[in-house]
């Protein structure tokens, strides 16, 4: 979940009310955000530099770190948070966002060249006129772009935002895609002019920007935005030009979002203009820009139209489980920034037309409206109304079937524990080495499920046997009194082309004895006991009515002290003295015997 840092005092000023920390936490809890941390600017700096805790100054500004839901982009800055909470608390009416009245001729234009389709095909734009920045607002504006880049823009791959001082530019603008060598400009925070290909080299040492270079690197053309006088606005998604940089004095802001995903670009643009248009001369009014594609297709952005959704009262109360009046629902929806108008229909089948504002891209379906009604009503108020005696579980009494594999596993686990073995529970992920080489086994690539993106060698493969985990447990318990008798019942996975995903689990039992001697007969005895408890008779070799054992030749066991277990004619496992080389590989100083068998054949 993304976290937004806001100054506590600024937030309370924006809300028009101060809260105790506890009261604010309660407000957050009921709205569905969380006060994650309370800190100060200086404490953050100290933490970053790993400095000792100093005594904080009384006058240090308190920062609230607030966790917001991942689909609420409108809450990613103080302005949006405060707007939503003001409306939620009833301090403010739902804002109505409108486009400024601009004539067809006067509207700013963005011409899109067709080459852009090779690299980053979409652009959407808007203008915030007569905005008043101060230091805090300006920082918030920059931070919001950062947050959007990190979240919905997927680190600028899907959308990249550029904001410009419109008074330093001259429309109409063009969005082009040109060979890197033919683009030259002074980038933000630099003094000199760079060619785009040089700039890419230059930024390879820039900690922040180098992460974005891969998005366009190697492309024959780079996306670039120009104004009428061929001033470069930006080289998306890398950097803006220095010429049009916004400052505290900037009055008119030109916003452009270039994208590979048009839906997300529109959401990003709407988030920017709905949160910051409150600082404009005409509050909540945004000046549109016409985007004209090379084929003549033209669009006016931002698209601030509301999305209307028809939702019935019975749907809402039916899903929440609390009976609600139509007027009440309208009020509750208003608290969540949703206008609701009762549509003219007969009184029994009351229904609403709910207007979803451009800031609420998270609302996809009437069920999202239902959730907002439930939140505004209060989950915990519903809890008080809920018939507490387990409606959901009483609803049906049915006869159940136990899952035979799990039921059988539990029975076997208890039997093995009853004969004196202690259960362990080890990891399913392991290194390739542990799964093969350390067990003297060869990896013929036909057996193991292999992870493509492991963080460390510990997570390279899914175990194909329980043996590595059991041996690692012994190695980590060298000081435990001998003999050690441990076992595990768990799943391994192997490749299997007959399964839809190409692999399957198998339930195995493994047990180990470790002491002054290897205890081969003890493990042999355990095999007999497991068979006895399953009612399987000991038969002579070749007989398929029961089980027998015969000498085997597995690399993980000592030659001459190992056997395969044949159950009804099929091999289901092996046991033996663990090969001394294998013991050395796992750093185990004492002799061990081990059995591993597939228990699914007993089902």
């Amino acid at each position: 979940m993304p976290t937004v840092s806001v100054g506590r005092d600024r937030l309370y000023a924006a809300l028009g009310k101060s809260y105790s920390q506890e009261a604010f936490e309660d407000l957050c809890f009921s709205f569905g955000i969380e006060l994650d941390d309370v800190t100060t600017e200086k404490a953050i700096v100290r933490k970053e530099k790993h400095l000792e805790e100093e005594v904080g100054d009384e006058d240090e500004e308190v920062i609230y770190k607030i966790e917001v839901p991942a689909n609420r982009y409108d809450l990613l800055c103080l302005e949006g948070l405060a707007q939503s909470l003001r409306v939620f608390c009833g301090f403010q009416e739902i804002p109505t966002y409108t486009l400024a009245d601009v004539t067809k001729d006067a509207i700013l234009k963005m011409h899109v060249k067709k080459e852009t389709s090779q690299i980053r095909p979409y652009v959407v734009c808007a203008v915030l006129r007569g905005i008043t920045f101060d230091k805090a607002r300006y920082n918030s504006f920059i931070d919001l772009q950062d947050k959007l880049h990190q979240n919905i823009c997927r680190r600028r791959t899907l959308v990249a935002i550029g904001t410009h001082d419109l008074d330093k530019l001259e429309g109409p603008f063009t969005y082009e895609a040109l060979p890197p060598s033919s683009i030259s400009f002074v980038p933000l925070k630099q003094e000199r002019c760079f060619r785009a290909d040089e700039l890419m080299e230059f930024y390879k040492s820039d900690l922040k920007l180098k992460k974005f270079l891969h998005i366009i690197e190697g492309s024959p053309v780079f996306p670039v935005l120009y104004d009428h006088k061929r001033t470069v606005l930006s080289l998306p998604p890398i950097i803006n030009g220095a010429h049009s940089a916004i400052t505290l004095e900037t009055k008119n802001v030109f916003i452009e979002c270039t994208a590979t995903d048009l839906t997300k670009a529109k959401i990003v643009l709407n988030t920017m203009v709905t949160t910051f248009s409150e600082y404009c001369e005409n509050k909540f009014v945004v000046e549109p820009v016409e985007v004209i594609y090379s084929d003549g297709e033209s669009h006016i952005y931002p698209d601030l139209s509301v999305y209307n959704m028809e939702v019935s009262l019975s749907y809402l109360s039916g899903l929440i489980g609390v009976s609600l009046e139509a007027e009440e629902v309208t009020k509750l929806l208003n608290k969540m920034q949703l206008h609701a108008k009762q549509s003219a229909s007969d009184s029994k089948q009351s229904s609403f037309v709910v207007s979803v504002p451009p800031s609420r891209s998270d609302i996809l379906h009437p069920c999202d409206v239902m959730e907002d009604v439930a939140i505004a009503y209060g989950f915990n108020a519903i809890k008080d109304k809920a018939v507490i005696d387990n409606q959901g579980s009483k609803r049906l009494a049915s006869s159940l079937t136990l899952l035979s594999l799990n039921e059988f596993s539990d029975l076997i686990r208890k039997e093995v524990a009853l004969v004196g073995f202690t259960e362990v529970l080890t990891f399913i992920l392991c290194s390739k080495k542990e799964n093969f080489a350390l067990l003297n086994r060869k990896d013929d690539k036909s057996k193991a499920v292999i992870i493509g993106n492991p963080r460390s060698s510990d997570f390279e493969a899914v175990r194909t046997s329980l043996m590595p985990g059991i041996l690692k447990t012994v190695a980590h318990n060298k000081d435990h009194p001998k003999p050690i008798k441990i076992f595990e019942v768990g799943d391994i996975a192997i490749l299997d082309d007959k399964k839809d995903v190409g692999a399957k689990n198998c339930r195995h039992l493994a047990a180990l004895y470790c002491g002054a001697n290897a205890g081969f007969e003890i493990i042999h005895g355990l095999v007999d006991r497991v068979m006895e408890k399953n009612g399987v008779p000991f038969v002579s070799p070749g007989d398929i009515s029961g089980y027998y054992i015969e000498q085997s030749d597995e690399p993980e066991f000592l030659a001459g002290r190992q056997a395969r277990i044949i159950f009804k004619g099929n091999q289901i496992g092996t046991f033996g003295i663990v090969h001394p080389e294998v013991l050395n590989n796992f750093d185990i100083p004492d002799p061990c015997s081990l059995v591993e068998l597939n228990i699914e054949s007993f089902l």
Binding site: K264, I320, H365, D368, A386, S393, L429, F459, K472, H476
Partner: protein, 488 residues
């Protein structure tokens, strides 16, 4: 003999004042007397009190001088009347005796150390050191200055002598009864047990450690949770498939393909088998459509849904992947309501620390029925968590791509004195259920939590590696108590 002597003596006398003297009078080894006194004291036949005496004994060096005379005397006697050159004298008495003897004799002013010759300064001397050593050897007391001097020359060392003074104890008897520690087959069958006295048992010590098998703590908690689910009428889902396709793990759950959870730094994607072989094609089409353009009353996410993304195999990140398969199967038949649960391993490609591992166990419960409500969900959660001993719950709105509403579950922890998050819950979105083909009025309410977290709270474990994996201490596993959920 010693025991009879002590008990017999005390029959007619009040006290043995000094065990040392007592031993000497009766010509019994003092050590033997001491052992008997300790044993009689243990059974309270007698009460014994410690006596300590400091005395001096000769060192090995001291013993030699007591016999042969002090080094200074030996040296003195080796000097002829006319004197003797230094080298010759040293050769005569040996270098070590020469060195010590010279120093002491010079101190006593017995010698003239001339440049050429060493000669006697006085004609007659007494070997005081030898006399003193002999006196100590005989146990006589000598002056404290002399003790100091001999001690400094390491000729004597102190020795502590320990003995006892002994009186009758509360259990005194002139003859000791035989004591035993156990009822044996012999003393039982012979009837001898009637005459025997049983040694007092040490009730403050622990009994003998027992050997046996043990179940794993985490799986003990799993068993109890299974019981809870079974009591509530839930049926277990088969979760024995770690390898899953992105389709069932994400797409079927209406989780968009650009969702951060689908990034490689959160999920283990597979090199082998890298992609899934088969998906149900008609269902895949419906899922694609609901992602791209919505339907069933939804706007959808409006992006290009890619089949390649859905085909990618992974290690399941949640057991909800299994739930989606189960619900899809359910939708293929005429509808009948179901309550399902599972508790099994899931995998996250996350950094590991004290509370996070790359794999853990997810507990999941779901109810699928017509007309379920948020109230029903809260009711089931209340029932479930009460059975685990968590009765004080509150719910926070949250976001989850496949549930709406989504609620985080908090429980008030009396020990920590605060609200702690104990799980997540919600109602599955229509965009997930309806493409499966479930009837429109069918709702699914579901919740999930990890098995490790409540277990760690229950057993007071603060490092997850102490609970799960190969680094656990087998000793602790064996001592782990039984799991009784819901009992504080």
């Amino acid at each position: 003999m010693a025991e009879e002597a002590i008990l017999g003596y005390l029959e007619h006398n009040d006290e043995i004042k000094d065990s040392g003297e007592f031993a000497e009078e009766r010509k019994i080894e003092h050590n033997e007397i001491v052992n008997v006194i300790k044993s009689l004291h243990g059974f309270r036949y007698v009460d014994a009190e410690d006596i300590k005496r400091e005395s001096w004994v000769l060192t090995d060096e001291g013993k030699i001088y007591a016999e042969a005379g002090s080094p200074e005397m030996q040296l003195f006697l080796a000097i002829p009347e006319e004197g003797i050159p230094k080298d010759e004298l040293q050769k005569k008495v040996g270098p070590s005796l020469f060195k010590i003897g010279c120093a002491q004799a010079a101190k006593n002013k017995w010698l003239d150390m001339g440049k050429q010759l060493i000669s006697r300064k006085v004609q007659h001397v007494d070997d005081k050191v030898k006399v003193l050593l002999l006196q100590i050897q005989q146990g006589q007391v000598i002056g404290s200055d002399d003790i100091k001097a001999l001690k400094a020359r390491k000729l004597i060392v102190p020795q502590t002598w320990k003995g006892y003074s002994v009186k009758k104890g509360p259990n005194y008897a002139p003859k000791r009864k035989q004591v035993v520690t156990d009822l044996t087959r012999d003393n039982f069958q012979s009837g001898e047990w009637k005459e025997l006295e049983f040694k007092e048992y040490n009730y403050s010590a622990k009994g003998q450690p027992l050997e046996g098998g043990h179940l794993h703590p985490l799986l003990k908690v799993r068993s109890q949770l299974k019981e809870i689910f079974l009591c509530m009428g839930f049926e277990e889902m088969p979760t024995n498939n770690f390898v899953e396709s992105s389709f069932w793990n994400f797409d079927a759950l209406f989780q968009p393909q650009q969702h951060p959870a689908r990034d490689s730094h959160d999920t283990f994607f597979l090199e082998t088998p890298s992609t899934t072989n088969i998906l149900p094609e008609d269902y895949v089409q419906r899922v694609k459509q609901v992602h791209e353009s919505g339907g069933y009353g939804s706007r959808g996410y409006a992006y290009d849904w890619k089949r390649e993304e859905a085909n990618k195999n992974l290690l399941r990140t949640h057991t909800t992947a299994v739930s989606s398969r189960m619900l899809y199967q359910l939708a293929k038949k005429p509808f009948s309501p179901k309550k399902f649960f599972s508790i099994d391993r899931v995998f996250r490609n996350e950094a590991v620390d004290r509370t996070h591992l790359a794999e853990f166990h997810q507990i999941e419960g779901l109810v699928c029925d017509r007309g379920l409500t948020l109230c029903d969900l809260i009711g089931v959660l209340h029932d479930f968590f009460s059975r685990m001993g968590m009765t004080k719950l509150k719910f926070k709105p949250a976001y989850n791509p496949y549930t709406e509403p989504s609620m985080e579950i908090f429980s008030y922890h009396e020990g920590f004195k605060k609200w702690v998050e104990v799980g997540n819950s919600g109602m599955f979105r229509p965009e997930m259920l309806q493409p499966m083909g479930l009837p429109e009025d069918v709702q699914v309410i579901a919740w999930g939590l990890s098995l490790e977290r409540p277990t760690m709270i229950l057993y007071g474990i603060d490092n997850i590696r102490d609970l799960f994996g190969h680094k656990v201490d087998l000793g602790l596993m064996k001592k782990n108590p039984i799991c009784r959920l819901g009992i504080e």
